[in-house]
Structure formats: structure tokens, C-alpha cells
Symmetry: none
Subunit: 236 residues, 2 copies
């Protein structure tokens, strides 16, 4: 008897896990197979986009089965995934700003902040659910600092220095971090107890997280891909 699960026809969480899993796999194939058509400078960026979706594909594979088997949020695996993919996104910012002389320290600052954001979020969702608002707040502060770094801080300055296609791509990525990433705190509020209960109460947390992941991992990667296409075309 084969290893397949039945899902209820109205199981939208299961649906988004399956669609998300396959979309991540397809996106990885797309980034990996197209990376060699670009100049060295952009190859690494596209490769890292592929790594982000590939890591997600593997975790979604696990999470969709976890969901199908237990009908329960795979919070543990969700955070395993984020703790790898979010730092890689910070690496992406560094990679595209390297042309303007970005320093490694910028990358590490963003990485540490993202780790703080995720570890505190994990505490709020699991061990200390009763103080979810408190951990969410700390997490939100770290998130806010990341937003500030790329919108008005050192990352912004470097993007202006680089100009051209890099600046354009940076602007789009800024919106991803401000609007796209803001999907996650909404999911958090929908899934944890607190004074904010009821605001997003009706929505299932996992659907929100899955939509967020699709937008941010694949969309983010496509912005990088697009930058590689236009920048490579100009250089030749």
C-alpha cells in the first residue's frame, strides 16, 4: 500500500502545502538550470535564489506530509526552514550590493537580526505561547531594524551608489521586505493567543505562511533573476 495521503476536498491548508511544495521544486529547477546563462557576477545570485527555493521545497515536502498525517501546524519545520532561508536572503542583498562595495559586516548585521527575529518568534509560537505578544514584539523590533537598514540605512546608500539596474532591483526588494515579509506577523497573530485575537482570527495561520513563502521566496528570486537578465543584456 503506497505512501499517499487523502486530503479533504476543502482542506485549503493541505492544498497550499501541496501547491507550495511543487512551486518551490519548479522554481529551483528554473533557477538552477538557467544560472549558467549569466555572467559570473550574477551566476552566484541566481544560484542562491535556487538554494532558497530548494531548501523550501525539501521542507514543504516534509510539511505537506506532516500536515496530511497530523492535521497540525508543522511549526518546528517551518522555523527550521526560515532559519536557513532568511539569512540566505540577507546574503542576496549583500551579493547584489557588492558591486557598490558592500562590506561583509552589513551582511552579518542583517543575518544576526534575522536570527533574533526568528528565535524570538519561535519562542512566542511554541514554548511561551502565553506571552506570544511579548516575543512577537521583540521579533517585530528586529524586523523593523532590518527594514530600516535596507530602506534608509547603509544598504540603501550602497544601492544608490550602484545605481542603474541594481538600484531598481533593490527598490523592488525593499517592497518585498516591507510588504511581503509583513505577511508573516499577520500569520503569527492569526495563530497565537493574545489581545489581537479576532482581528485575523478566521484565517488559518498556515495558509497565510504558505502564501508568504510563495511570494517571498519565489518572487524575491524572480527579482534577482530579472536583474541578472537585464544587467547581463546591458553589459554585452
Amino acid at each position: 500500500f503506497a505512501d499517499v495521503s487523502k486530503l479533504a476536498v476543502d482542506d485549503y491548508v493541505g492544498f497550499t502545502f501541496f501547491v507550495g511544495c511543487m512551486a518551490m521544486m519548479a522554481a529551483s529547477a528554473f533557477f538552477f538550470l538557467s544560472m549558467n546563462t549569466f555572467d559570473r557576477k550574477w551566476k552566484t545570485s541566481v544560484l542562491v535564489s535556487g538554494l532558497i527555493t530548494f531548501i523550501a521545497a525539501v521542507h514543504y515536502w516534509y510539511m505537506r506530509d506532516y500536515w496530511a498525517a497530523n492535521m497540525e501546524s508543522p511549526t518546528f519545520f517551518r522555523y527550521v526552514d526560515w532559519v536557513l532561508t532568511v539569512p540566505l536572503m540577507c546574503v542576496e542583498f549583500y551579493l547584489i550590493l557588492k558591486v557598490a562595495g558592500a562590506k561583509r559586516s552589513l551582511m552579518w548585521n542583517m543575518i544576526w537580526l534575522s536570527v533574533i527575529m526568528l528565535v524570538t518568534g519561535y519562542f512566542g509560537e511554541t514554548l511561551y505561547r502565553d506571552q506570544a505578544w511579548f516575543w512577537g514584539l521583540i521579533s517585530g523590533i528586529a524586523y523593523f531594524i532590518i527594514v530600516a537598514i535596507i530602506w534608509v540605512g547603509p544598504a540603501k546608500k550602497l544601492a544608490v551608489q550602484a545605481g542603474g539596474e541594481v538600484l531598481k532591483a533593490h527598490k523592488t526588494l525593499c517592497w518585498f521586505v516591507l510588504v511581503g515579509w509583513a505577511i508573516y506577523p499577520i500569520g503569527y497573530m492569526a495563530g497565537t493567543p493574545g489581545w489581537y485575537e479576532g482581528i485575523f482570527g478566521g484565517l488559518p495561520m498556515d495558509v497565510i505562511y504558505n502564501i508568504g513563502d510563495a511570494v517571498n521566496k519565489i518572487g524575491f528570486g524572480l527579482v534577482i533573476y530579472n536583474l541578472a537578465v537585464t544587467a547581463s543584456a546591458k553589459e554585452t
Copy 2:
């Protein structure tokens, strides 16, 4: 103990699931491995053809086991598959018409229409089977608009502007959408209750859908492949 199922020798649905699965895998290998022999312009199109069959291969792998285990239509996974592959086909139209200046908005219009077509079809097949005719009708209208866009609408105009091999390929793809895609509503009518019961009553829905997928995913991809071959040859 290996994870294999036995199938009855006259299980034609199972047969088409297994053949379909392998055909999709082989087609993916073909498109992925040959993409690098083409110019940049066509590479992406062939890559996307490969993504379509790759996505299908993964889902067929699941669906053939699902069928073998439950002897029941894997409707859920069928629609997970379509909701990813049909929009990618709209992307293909956009990609080949880009040479004639196709706009992103054309692509998005087609994508939205295809999503409406599929979501309403899903409702008719699962949650609201009693009104299957109604949901099928709405789905059919969306389908009809897609057909109109590519046969006589903006997509057609762009194809004429592009001329040559692109126009030829576009014509073939138009027939795929008009005749090839029409296989699916037939499967729908064979598989749902309604006044049309009996017309296609004897045929098993999944065999019809599997034939449709083989024709449209692999055939569609081969048309793109062929365009890449002939257009690349002319340019050198």
C-alpha cells in the same frame, strides 16, 4: 518490503497513470537536457516546457500511487497540478510573443482567466457536485475568453506582427488550446452528474484527463521545441 502496488491487468486508468508518469519524466529530461543547444531567446521557453512536464511528472508519480492505493480519482492532486501548469502555459504564450513586444498584462490576463477556469471547475467536481453544470458553465466561459484572446484577440495580433516561425508556432498552439484543451470539459462531463450524463457516460474520467495531459503538456512543449530548432537554424 518494497513500496509497490499490484494493478489489475485491465485497469486502464492505472495504465494511463503509469504511462503518463513516465512520459512526463522522459519529456522533462528531453527539454532540460536540450535547452542549452538553443540561443538565449529560446532557452527560457524550452526550460518552461520542461518545468510543465516536470511538475506533471511529480504529480503523476503521486497520482498513480494514489489511484493504486485507493482506486479513486485523485481530483485534489489533479487540480494542484493544473493550477501550476496551466498558468505556465500562459507564460509560454507570452514568452514566444515577446519578440513582437507582448506586454506582461497580456500574460496576467490569461493567467487570471485560467485560475478562474480551474477554481470554478474544482468547485463543480468536488464541493458543489450537484450544481456541476453551473460551475462547468462559468469555467467554460473563462476558457472561451482565453480561446478568443489567442485566436482573434491581442495575442493573435502580436503573432501576426512577429510573423515567420513564431506565427506558425502560434497557429499550432491555437489549435492545441481549442481542440486539445477541449478534452478536459469532456472528462468533466464524464465524471460529474448532470443533464449531460450518458453522453460520455461510459468513459472513465481519469483516462480522458490523462490523455488530455499527455497531448497538451508534451505536445505543447514539442511545438515550442520545434520553434526553437527552426528559429535558431534561421538565425545562424
